[in-house]
Symmetry: C3
Subunit: 343 residues, 3 copies
């Protein structure tokens, strides 16, 4: 056992530590094709080099969430191997598009620690950064997870809970250099609805559904080199089921949201997110969205829209929480993000 | 619901309309690898850049049927979302090879309309064209589908049924510029049988079978950005089964036909095709072929062969229809196509 | 049936014959991405172009075992279509890295023949070579299989059993030109354990497990253009199960061995291997390793380590054979290979 990675326990994290995560990954057209094969992803900017060029980018980037998954996957062996729960996300920002040929690696800084009162677990806050081969930060986000203690006698650290921005302001968002939607082709993009057509509070039922298969979520999760045992080993859980990587649900819901939000092209900010209930093979994922905010940006023809994206495994659209204030059992995901749209 | 695409109903089509389909797609080595992972595709011209160069092409193209699927997939949101049945294909021509790096988009022209006597549905005929980033037509085909009316009171259009060529003549076929089979390497291609070795009426049992998995047909169908709900959502049909995209069966049967037709390298014409019975996960697809015609071409060393390709889910090879003239229940596909072979 | 490949029977092999296998294959970033999606492969040299360059290679090669599978797959139609059993491997050497853009083909020389005393089968020994587009041998290995006779009256050939090296010496191993681990980044590679940290006889339980899915092993096996019916056709075996390609288990076990052997970067020699028991969908594959030997090499910072890699479907780690000297029923694979590590 000495040579294998047992993962870090709560007492192994020190405030201010910067963890360099292993196994850099070069992405190619192969990752792009697989992403589009595993999710019904159709946003034109990520599907067509020509559409991307007409929007001021050199070529189509790797899907924004694929970049997120690559970065996230690298953190798993160091951050969440002994995690009891993935508690939240904040301050997620996509800073640079990732292109085929780029090599990504990741680092995480421990920005908060708080032992739970039971003395058996604690909450670890990390700010994770994804970097490319030029050491440019391509994305960053804060995640906090509940982690088991291995040595229950280890002293509790001074509790530090970072102050996190609940909602990124539009000024916090990084718009890719050169992005220009003034000549945006709505026909090629798939829908006529522009930024100006969406109203605050508007809700959209994305209608389509995808039934989850074991082979698909495992292929996806491995592609991101996510090593969490529960996603792959049917003998790990007493009920014999594999727990599906939360990011698989995020990508599925985002892809489904094309139908109604085809022009919400680029995700640039992640304000928060909750994996409300676990997802398992056999469930059929559907999605609905709600417009939370709209802001102008300085880029030509580009508006920012803040969206709630909810993934469910059934039930009526737009139902989120019960009278007890808790997520309904069919709600899988409640995500709050900023996207860029043509105005 | 206002923002999502409800699809077009019969009364929404007007004769002469040209529909520009959404979401152009750049293909890469990723799509090529996935095609070869999802189907037992082995035709050497599409597997090896070196073999393609020895045949006069600059590099190996994307498989002919992969190009078809990309084009077809784009038409689904506009043509077949409310289709009751996919009735037929005609006049399919592959006009230019598609290479990694090409970006495909599609248009469909409404060339026929005929309301059914029940007043609830009608038949729509479209000629679909796939175009690359240079606006060159890479392929075209006619498809007709039965589509529901939404407004039953909408007046029936003047019936127009296009005259379609039952069988493309060899002069209608486009042979890729430079294609030359005079130095064809039969050993590398996998079989010794040349064009001259096949006889009119000859039937070939392709022997091999592949059992269909949900994950595989969904990965394939998504890769082509085909959005038809029935392929992905197990809750959509009362029996809980996902209907498999007909093109998945076409590609599976074509790939299986390598064993006996390894040298029928390039599909260049689609005379017609019927999805005789629906295909579902768990069935084992087998295939047989029949030589319908043979023609010389003007390209060096290249002959054209017209083949019937039949996919089945069991039963005896070469059985197609019952005494009632209807397809046997185990017949999934009856396809009529032209391919190019070394003479 | 005349046109399809019935495969070779024992009497069809002649000593000294060189079989040129069909269907050359160009590999790309697509094959690389798929390999990393199908197996939890994380060895940094194959994951990151930057890491590969820092190690003296021009870019990240295709995974060593992926190259093996491509070569192996080509041999199946000629060598093992009528095989009763895959008996063993020897003298496997990876001679040149394979890069995206390379085109691989394969040849096999018949180096041994021995009819079995029952007169119905015989053992065929072949030395298979994989070649790239410059006709350079990228890898070679000896394999022997038991093959059925078709014509039981065919005379038995003079028995020739080749003398095979049981264990390749370190001098037999080909180290890629330029490979240099002197600036090896252990943090990016994922583990701190260097060549010097492993002891002869040391055993490592790789802890993680992956449950096998039909869709995944079929996608993998097709990607290598392996045509053996038993892997794809559920109607082929009386029990309705698909037998999983032994190479799928090899790749799965090797990828799982990252956890404990992250720095055993490159496989360069295959001393031997046995598929101890068949693998089927639903089993959960785990792996353990044992250090069999360690040798210095002439390349800067590079040591060679000889490892036993055992894949199981359960049971206790490090258990291999019963008191009867036979493999335990849960042992799937017993592989003996050389890898290169930073010293």
């Amino acid at each position: 056992m000495a040579k294998t990675n047992a993962g870090r326990f709560f007492e192994d994290y020190k405030l201010g530590d910067v963890i360099e995560h292993a196994v850099p990954r070069t992405v190619s057209g192969g990752e792009r094709a697989l992403y589009h094969a595993l999710y019904p992803a159709r946003h034109a900017l990520y599907s067509s080099d020509e559409f991307a060029r007409a929007s001021g980018l050199p070529t189509a980037p790797i899907d924004d969430l694929a970049a997120f998954h690559v970065v996230f996957g690298k953190t798993v062996p160091d951050v969440s191997l002994n995690a009891v729960a993935n508690l939240g996300y904040a301050e997620g920002r996509w800073l640079l598009p990732v292109y085929a040929g780029d090599t990504l690696r990741a680092t995480s800084e421990v920005i908060g620690l708080k032992q739970n009162s039971n003395g058996k677990t604690g909450v670890v806050y990390v700010r994770t950064r994804g970097l490319n081969q030029r050491d440019e930060v391509v994305m960053e986000y804060v995640r906090w997870v509940m982690v088991r203690k291995n040595n229950l006698d280890a002293p509790a650290p001074d509790p530090v809970v970072p102050e996190l921005t609940k909602v990124l302001s539009v000024e916090d968002l990084a718009i890719p250099a050169g992005l220009d939607f003034t000549n945006y082709d709505f026909t090629l993009a798939g829908e006529a609805h522009r930024w100006g057509d969406y109203e605050l509070g508007e809700q959209i039922d994305h209608v389509d559904g995808v039934t989850i298969e074991e082979a698909e979520h495992m292929i996806a999760t491995r592609l991101w080199q996510n090593t969490a045992k529960v996603h792959f080993d049917a003998t790990f859980r007493p009920d014999g089921q594999r727990l599906i990587y939360g990011g698989h649900v995020i990508s599925m819901a985002r892809a489904l949201s094309f139908n109604g939000l085809a022009n919400a092209q680029m995700i640039v900010g992640l304000n928060g997110g909750a994996h409300a209930n676990p997802c398992f093979s056999g469930l059929t994922v559907k999605a609905w969205s709600e417009v939370l905010d709209k802001r102008e940006t300085s880029a030509p023809g580009v508006g920012a829209i803040r969206l709630r994206l909810v993934a469910t495994s059934g039930g009526a659209p737009f139902a989120l929480k019960g009278e007890d204030g808790k997520y309904l059992p069919e709600v899988l995901l409640d995500l709050d993000y900023w996207a860029l749209m043509p105005v």
